[in-house]
Every structure is written in structure tokens, then in C-alpha cells.
Symmetry: C2
Subunit: 82 residues, 2 copies
């Protein structure tokens, strides 16, 4: 996966998940240092409807498989933080 | 919430999510230092069927609301780690 491309693609995600991957509110998960495969599986689930969330479903809609791998690799690469 | 009670209740969770809240496999999320409310919302979703997962659905089944708050407080209290 391409972490740099993931970082670019994740610019929009930062508005809720934080620039450093720490959620901006108590109900928004921290993504920094999370497991790469787990993150990718959740984005796939949101995109393909296996997991539903009002904010995430539209966010994941247009993502390609490559986008998903890059975004997951980007957040997994960040130091774990809360 | 009672972190100590949460720790006791979460002993079984440790077999997959790790004693220190770091998932034992790439598809198992780290819970250490995650947002408390987010964690509680996910346990509620797994218990009440809004979110489905083969491993988590049976795990969340018997939890009371108090168990859920305590477990969420316990994992949120751990230092973020990967």
C-alpha cells in the first residue's frame, strides 16, 4: 500500500478522525496505530453495506480497493495516541 | 463506570484483544486508549444486533448496560498502544 497516497486520500477523514488520527469527539474512534487489516475491513464493510453508519457510509462510497488499502496503511502507520 | 469491574469482566476479551488491549491478529482491533463512548456504542450495537460479527455477537450477548460501560471505561483507560 502507498501511505503517502493514503495520507492525501485521508485529508477529508481528518475533519472527524483528527489530523493525527485521534477522534475529535467521544463517539468518533481513534484510528492512529489501529490494525491495518481491521481498518481496511471496516472501510470495505461501510462501502459495501455490511456495516452501516450515517457519517461513514457516504464517506466510504466512492473509495476504490486501492484507496482503502492506502488509507488503512496510513492510519496504521501513525503512532498510537489518545 | 467502574474500571476495576470492567477489567474483571474483560478478562475473556483479552484472549483476542490482548491483556494490554492490543489485538492478537491483524483483523482484531486494538482497544487500548480507544474512545470510551465509541467502545460502549460498539458493544451495544453488537449486543442489540445493529452491528454483526461472528465472534463479537455471542461475546456481547449477555452483557448488561453496566458491564458495557465498565468494559468501555477499562479499555479507554489503557495507554494507547500498537
Amino acid at each position: 500500500a502507498d501511505i503517502e497516497k493514503g495520507k492525501q486520500k485521508a485529508l477529508i477523514c481528518g475533519s472527524c478522525h483528527g489530523k493525527d488520527g485521534v477522534g475529535i469527539a467521544e463517539n468518533i474512534p481513534n484510528l492512529a496505530g489501529q490494525k491495518e487489516t481491521y481498518l481496511a475491513l471496516q472501510l470495505l464493510a461501510f462501502r459495501d453495506g455490511f456495516r452501516k453508519n450515517m457519517q461513514m457510509t457516504p464517506m466510504a462510497k466512492g473509495l476504490t480497493d486501492e484507496d482503502i488499502q492506502n488509507i488503512a496503511a496510513f492510519y496504521a502507520s501513525l503512532p498510537a495516541k489518545k
